[in-house]
């Protein structure tokens, strides 16, 4: 158990790409020589419930695939914000998308956490980039918060994984990288 294990829980509605974000995060970390695990919640809850991806990244082999308290929680819908109360603690950074602020009621956002942060990922994906790279923006934000892998690392992995697609359509590569960068930027700006 030497070394820090980063625990990240990403939650949202079906179709928001929550599981893709979790899966990609775990894979990138592994490709960078870290140990990682990714566990989706599934079962009946998955069908119509909040979709959650549990990711752990560390230097040593990962123990239990399940965890209760996350270092970073990302909630992408109002339901997800409420659902994720059970996974926060005093050291948790709680991230949600600014677009859902109107749907939130008093007490929905957790207060017993280290920090609550809203990012404009949805807006940026629609207005500046492309709705398809929404999840890349979120991934960028997670990278900025955890620092488990660098932007260069993740770009390398994406090149490897999607190299063929990227070579067919270089604009796609650029779009993905810009989305990652934009996500990191959002966290850095919020920190100032």
């Amino acid at each position: 158990m030497a070394g820090k294990v980063w625990r990240v829980a990403i939650a949202g509605e079906g179709g928001q790409g929550v599981q893709v974000i979790g899966d990609t995060l775990a894979e990138v970390a592994y490709d960078e020589g870290k140990e990682s695990s990714y566990l989706p919640n599934f079962g009946l809850e998955q069908r119509g419930g909040v979709s959650i991806a549990f990711v752990q990244i560390g230097e040593d082999e990962i123990g239990s695939p399940k965890f209760k308290v996350a270092d970073v929680v990302v909630a992408l819908s109002a339901r997800a914000v409420r659902r994720m109360h059970m996974h926060v603690g005093p050291e948790t950074v709680f991230v949600y998308d600014c677009s859902i602020a109107d749907e939130l009621e008093a007490g929905d956002l957790p207060t017993n956490v280290k920090r609550v942060l809203c990012i404009k990922a949805l807006q940026a994906s629609k207005e500046e980039l492309d709705p398809r790279v929404f999840n890349m923006i979120v991934l960028g934000a997670i990278l900025a918060l955890t620092g488990v892998v660098t932007l260069e690392d993740i770009q390398k992995v994406l090149d490897k994984k999607l190299g063929y697609k990227f070579s067919q359509n270089p604009a796609l590569r650029d779009l993905n990288f810009r989305a990652l960068h934009r996500g990191m930027e959002m966290v850095e700006q919020a920190a100032q």
Binding site: M1, S36, L39, F42, G43, E61, I62, G63, S64, K66
Partner: protein, 348 residues
């Protein structure tokens, strides 16, 4: 890769020729991947009308000399006890992968360790079966390959006992061709349909599954039991750590053993004398190893996602040693290291 995908690849690497199955969560992806891989590698698949049929078609395929397997979970495991029983009775080398889900009944489709009793001792027999409980993806791969060999060598039905987490999670592992590692795969042998003319080159084979008299069956079961006991020391597997001077010994299997190990390491770092024992084979249980590992401990803690199913096995193995056994029983839910640590702190 998900654990289910790992299982499909492992079966392929082990030279499995045919799979029979029926959909049930959380093992479905084993069938999904197998059906995608099978045609490319000239392997076969049949989706049957239920788990009873999936088990019995597997029995038939094995009699015809094919390396056949099946996979199931929860209520499907219940239905498959009937064909598993036949595999026990006819000594058919049947391999089944069980991805445990919550129970009783349909329970949840997610996760559990509540199929230990059913998988080790289910059916109307004596539990002459081999059960490997895996903890991670690498082991799923390793033990599916090993499981085929154990089954075909010793001819007892063999199980790889996973769970919903292992089925659905992704974690790194290394795939390999068994031959590259010097693992020789045991070749399957047909029991019926042998070459040659009946009456000239060979006798007709009559395979028995039922006996009319008490004494007939008694002799058969005694023979199986003797062979099982003789085999056991060659099959039993376990892992252990810090047992030499442990005052409290934590016992866990499968994916829960990972959380238990983390907890033990946390307390070891504080200088606490806590040991860790993990049976890999739940049947036959690594009896001698547990007895030795537990010899110095004054207390035992059994940790499992069930209401004492592993604890029952442990108590049976240690019945001559009198000492308190506590349980951290969390039926059908996952267990994390901090829960184990908290429990251990109350015991130290």
């Amino acid at each position: 890769m998900t654990g289910n995908e790992v299982v499909a690849w492992a079966a392929l690497a082990a030279g499995a020729e045919i799979m029979f199955g029926y959909p049930i969560t959380p093992q479905n992806e084993i069938m999904h991947y197998w059906t995608r891989l099978a045609p490319k590698y000239n392997r076969k698949f049949l989706q049957t009308e239920d788990e009873i049929s999936a088990g019995f078609t597997t029995c038939g395929a094995i009699q015809a000399g094919r390396k056949a397997f099946t996979a199931t979970a929860g209520p499907g495991n219940v239905l498959m006890q009937e064909p598993f029983g036949m595999a026990e009775a006819m000594r058919l080398p049947m391999l089944a992968i069980i991805q445990q889900r919550g129970g009783p009944s349909s329970g949840t489709v997610v996760y559990s360790q509540q199929e230990v009793t059913l998988t080790t001792y289910g059916g109307n027999g004596e539990g002459h079966r081999i059960v490997y409980s895996t903890a991670n993806h690498q082991e799923l791969y390793d033990y599916v390959i090993k499981g085929f060999n154990t089954a075909w060598k010793y001819r007892f039905p063999t199980f790889v006992l996973g769970d919903g987490y292992q089925a659905k999670m992704r974690e790194p592992m290394t795939m390999y061709d068994p031959a590259e590692r010097g693992i020789e795969m045991v070749a399957p042998q047909p029991l019926i349909g042998l070459p040659g003319q009946i009456g000239k080159d060979r006798e007709a084979q009559h395979l028995c599954n039922i006996y009319s008299l008490e004494e007939e069956l008694y002799d058969v079961v005694q023979r199986f039991d003797a062979e099982y006991r003789q085999m056991a020391p060659m099959i039993e597997e376990h892992q252990q750590l810090h047992c030499e001077d442990a005052e409290v010994l934590v016992i866990a299997h499968g994916v829960v053993s990972r959380a238990a190990l983390d907890a033990v390491e946390i307390l070891q770092a504080e200088g606490k004398k806590v040991g860790w024992f993990r049976p890999i084979t739940l049947r036959p249980f690594p009896h001698a190893a547990l007895e030795k590992a537990a010899a110095r401990a004054s207390q035992l803690l059994v940790v499992e996602s069930a209401m004492g199913q592993l604890a029952r096995l442990v108590k049976e193995e240690l019945f001559m040693q009198c000492r308190p056994i506590q349980g951290l029983y969390r039926p059908a839910v996952g267990i994390m290291a901090d829960e184990v640590v908290a429990k251990l702190r109350t015991m130290i």
